[in-house]
């Protein structure tokens, strides 16, 4: 812990030197809200600028009076205190003026809010489900379903590799939507409260377990839009980004076909038999993406919070029990049911990996067919 703290302190010091000395590699000083790319986000941005300028003007007026007074009405300049106090007229005036300004702000705010919340007459619906710490997207009209997980490598987070421009903003499977369609998002959660936020769309919406919230968007330009989970959801709250890709209708249709083909291929793969080396290689990759956040890359877990895999009774004991936990999770804990998240191949590989890595050396192999049988 102290070695790590010291290392961090040295890094920080080095960072300060970079900042003050040679300039720095990021050199970005964003200061304002994003305008965004939708009609709603533009309305929200305009509203933001309106209230911002009203506040600035009011602030400048009050501060100007205060500053003038501070420099003029000083005892050292011979100012003598005036006697006046208590004036009902003045009080009424300065109560009424802010009130009228507020009414002027409330009018555009109301119309924007009503538009933002109007999810009627959507062309398609996508269910968004928050998990600790990933997103799941279900295309309700097309029978497509997948998870979306951070792909920024651990080495970049730990400082052992240079950071990409899209550091902490990359996922394996982005949510893909067509342009010029009113898309309704049905947002919920599997565990704790999350919040789905892509600033370019102009809103965020909480994902509440057991309840469904809705929100909508209509994009006009193809592009990649990035966002983040905005509600504290546990340890890796900072590591569950959102990547939304908008495509033209043709490209979107092609993507839908690809997804369906990929799903069929995955179903086929669940009957194949893999070698130990294949299972371990796939298993290590799947472990680092899906398990390492809690059980840690070295399998040691976090005592009292997340159990260890290394030497654990589950990973060195009965195989069927281990598969059951992997597929169905453990109710009432953070251990999710990975049967619905991972393919049979990945799940077989990851369980094999857990039983043979970290000094567990059981020699057990789990095949995709074992997983399918347990589902």
């Amino acid at each position: 812990m102290f070695a790590k703290t010291l290392k961090g302190a040295l890094y920080s010091l080095w960072g300060a030197v970079l900042l003050l000395g040679a300039g720095n590699s990021y050199a970005e000083y964003p200061i304002n809200l994003t305008r965004g790319v939708t009609d709603i986000s533009n309305k929200v941005f305009d509203l933001h600028m309106l209230i911002f300028w009203i506040c600035v003007v009011a602030c400048v007026m009050v501060f100007a009076v205060l500053i003038y007074s501070i420099f003029t009405h000083r005892k050292s300049k011979g100012a003598v205190a005036a006697e006046f106090h208590e004036s009902t007229t003045v009080e009424i005036i300065w109560t009424t003026i802010p009130f009228l300004v507020l009414v002027a702000m409330a009018v555009p705010a109301t119309t924007t809010l009503l538009a933002l919340e109007d999810t009627r007459d959507a062309d398609m619906s996508i269910q968004v489900t928050g998990y600790q710490w990933k997103w799941k997207y279900d295309y309700l009209d097309d029978d497509i379903s997948f998870f979306s997980v951070l792909t920024t490598p651990r080495e970049q987070i730990e400082g052992d590799a240079p950071k990409d421009d899209t550091y902490l903003m990359d996922v394996d499977n982005p949510i893909v939507v067509p342009i010029n369609k009113k898309i309704r998002f049905l947002i919920t959660s599997n565990d704790v409260i999350h919040s789905w936020w892509v600033p370019d769309l102009g809103w965020k919406q909480d994902a509440v377990p057991g309840f469904i919230n809705d929100a909508w968007t209509e994009l006009t330009e193809p592009g990649t839009y990035r966002g983040k989970c905005a509600e504290l959801c546990g340890k890796d709250h900072g590591f569950m980004p959102i990547v939304l890709v908008a495509k033209t209708q043709e490209d979107y249709d092609a993507w839908v076909e690809d997804q369906k083909d990929a799903a069929a291929a995955a179903a086929d793969a669940s009957t194949q038999t893999l070698t130990m080396d294949e299972l371990m290689a796939k298993g290590e990759a799947a472990y680092n993406t899906n398990c390492a956040a809690c059980h840690q890359a070295n399998g040691a877990g976090i005592p009292g919070v997340f159990p260890a895999i290394a030497g654990s009774a589950v990973a060195t004991g009965d195989v069927a029990k281990h598969i059951d936990i992997g597929v169905n999770g453990v109710a009432g804990t953070s251990m999710q049911a990975f049967g619905e998240q991972l393919s049979a191949v990945d799940l077989a590989a990851v369980i094999t990996y857990q039983r043979n890595a970290f000094g567990n050396d059981t020699g057990d192999m789990v095949q995709p067919a074992d997983i399918t049988a347990a589902k």
């Binding site: 920080s12 970005e28 809200l33 009405h73 208590e86 902490l168 704790v192 057991g210 309840f211 989970c229």
Partner: protein
């Protein structure tokens, strides 16, 4: 106390000596001192946690702590600062000043006063002890939203719940004491509308405390039974609702922010007239504005929940009600301005803090107004924009007012003037660094950085580094403040009874330092 009438020299009693003086004391001045030391200790502990947070956020990437401990730090920092530093700090000021300002010999319920203080160190210790428990301390934010704080929380959460219960007992007893004191112990002639504004703001705050601390106790009790006794208040699988937690919490939480800021308004309303040598411009409108803010604080709470999926009618109502708070708040700022206008101002350290309060609290107030606009809040919510907002109102607002109060009343408490040069170093150092610390957080919040994240993408790197540097400087300034405090207690220029040239009020009619027993014979107020 029938013997007291025959015990002629009883007013000559000084303070008993030794540790037991502090354990058994029922003297409002001793208890005020205990509260203030406790608050300052907690400020330093919570501040140390803030240093950990800013060290981790100094650069992108995980450097100093792991994400779970980072969450523990943000959680404990918030809890310690709210319940350990600001609230006890304000109660400490109330204990010292209310009896002196209304001409009362002590608080109305001195033994309960002792108890309400002595609960605090135990509650605080219990809260801090969770850091050393298996699974770590609470890591779900100071707002402890269910189900992260119930089903998914570490075992130490039950200790956190008990600590919150104890802090609540302490606050409620303190509030009852203040109400009883203000209603029963005023000197003859001190009508309600003649009370100093600091007393008025605390009187109103005490009602807020009595109204909402039991609600907080209810929220944590429901958490306790959800965690341990199989209930499902906040679990949809058992027919409950996680958002119910937020309704209950914010029904406490929103008045809570006014509990922390109303006494600050009172402090500033005492200091500005003194150093402007001019009466407060609108005394009665200040009292009415305070009362309206207190009332409105109960009916706006769900503006913290615009993104939870409230019906649009609810969002509209809470938006309208919320922005209405700007009216009485503006009245207060205008009144301070009008008090300074055409005054004869001098700028001793307390005045500097009070003026900084007016400027910086106003900035925090305006960002608060912006977040009251529901559709814009869909973007602002849960970003660093709100982190900047509430640190402007709570650090440069509430905390600065406590600093101002220290510099203003310390001569009365210790009998020594605070070294002006040191006080001004503390002031300028703090006021510059605090803006370097928090102003850039507006920018990164608007640019899209969520709060409570231990690592961030690269576009936020530069402002975070600047913010952290400001944070470290602000932290060092408060360590320097320890030196100022100790130096003032140990010596310095002797203070006169009046202390400040333009000061009015009963507390300035007694000698400095204030004798152990004051106003044993009630003064006459004209």
């Amino acid at each position: 106390m029938s013997t007291a009438t025959t015990h002629d020299d009883h007013h000559d009693h000084g303070a008993p000596s030794g540790l037991m003086r502090w354990v058994t004391t029922t003297n409002h001045k001793d208890i005020g001192t205990l509260y203030l030391w406790f608050a300052f200790t907690m400020l330093l502990i919570g501040g140390a946690m803030a240093m950990v947070i800013r060290a981790e956020l100094f650069q992108p990437g995980m450097q100093v702590v792991d994400p779970n401990f980072f969450n523990t730090m943000t959680t404990m920092h918030g809890l310690i600062m709210v319940f350990g530093a600001i609230m006890p700090g304000m109660v400490g000021l109330a204990n010292w000043q209310i009896p002196l300002m209304i001409g009362a010999p002590d608080m109305a319920l001195p033994r309960m006063n002792n108890w309400s203080f002595w609960i605090l160190p135990f509650a605080g210790t219990m809260l801090l002890s969770t850091l050393f428990m298996e699974g770590g301390g609470p890591a779900f934010g100071w707002t402890f939203y269910a189900p992260l704080s119930t089903t998914f929380a570490p075992a130490s959460t039950d200790f956190f719940i008990f600590a919150i219960h104890m802090l609540g007992f302490s606050s409620i007893m303190g509030a009852i004491n203040i109400i009883a004191t203000v209603l029963n112990m005023r000197a003859p002639g001190m009508t309600l509308m003649k009370m100093p504004l600091f007393v008025w703001t605390w009187f109103i705050t005490a009602f807020l405390l009595i109204a909402v601390m039991p609600v907080l106790a209810g929220a944590v009790t429901m958490m306790l039974t959800d965690r341990n006794f199989g209930t499902s208040f906040f679990d949809a699988a058992g027919g409950g609702d996680p958002v119910l937690f937020q309704h209950v919490f914010w029904f406490f939480g929103h008045p809570e922010v006014y509990i922390m800021i109303l006494p600050a308004f009172g402090v500033v309303s005492e200091i500005i007239p003194t150093f402007a040598r001019k009466k407060l411009f609108g005394y009665s409108s200040m009292v009415y504005a305070t009362a309206s803010i207190a009332f409105l604080s109960f009916i706006v709470y769900a503006h913290h929940m615009f993104t939870t999926g409230m019906p649009v009618a609810g969002e509209l109502y809470f938006m309208y009600a919320t922005i209405m708070i700007a009216v009485p708040t503006a009245v207060k700022v205008f009144n301070w301005t009008a008090t300074m206008w055409k005054g004869s101002m001098t700028f001793e350290t307390p005045m500097l803090w009070a003026i900084a309060f007016v400027f910086l609290f106003t900035i925090g107030g305006f960002t608060g107004l912006m977040m009251g606009i529901a559709p814009a809040d869909m973007q602002y919510h849960d970003t660093y924009f709100i982190v900047a907002h509430f640190h402007y109102v709570l650090v440069t607002g509430a905390l600065f007012s406590i600093f101002a109060a220290f510099y203003y009343w310390a001569p009365k408490w210790t009998g020594h003037m605070v070294d002006e040069r040191l006080g001004k170093i503390h002031f300028w150092w703090s006021v510059i660094s605090v803006n370097v610390l928090f102003f850039p957080q507006h920018f990164i919040g608007l640019a899209g950085m969520p709060r409570r994240i231990p690592d961030y993408s690269l576009q936020f790197a530069d402002w975070n580094m600047i913010s952290s540097l400001g944070g470290f400087a602000f932290g060092v300034a408060q360590v320097f403040f320890i030196y100022v405090i100790i130096k003032t207690i140990r010596g310095g220029k002797a203070a006169t009874a009046e202390v400040w040239e333009g000061a009015h009020g009963l507390e300035w009619t007694i000698p400095s330092p204030a004798p152990y027993h004051t106003f044993e014979t009630a003064p006459e107020v004209k």
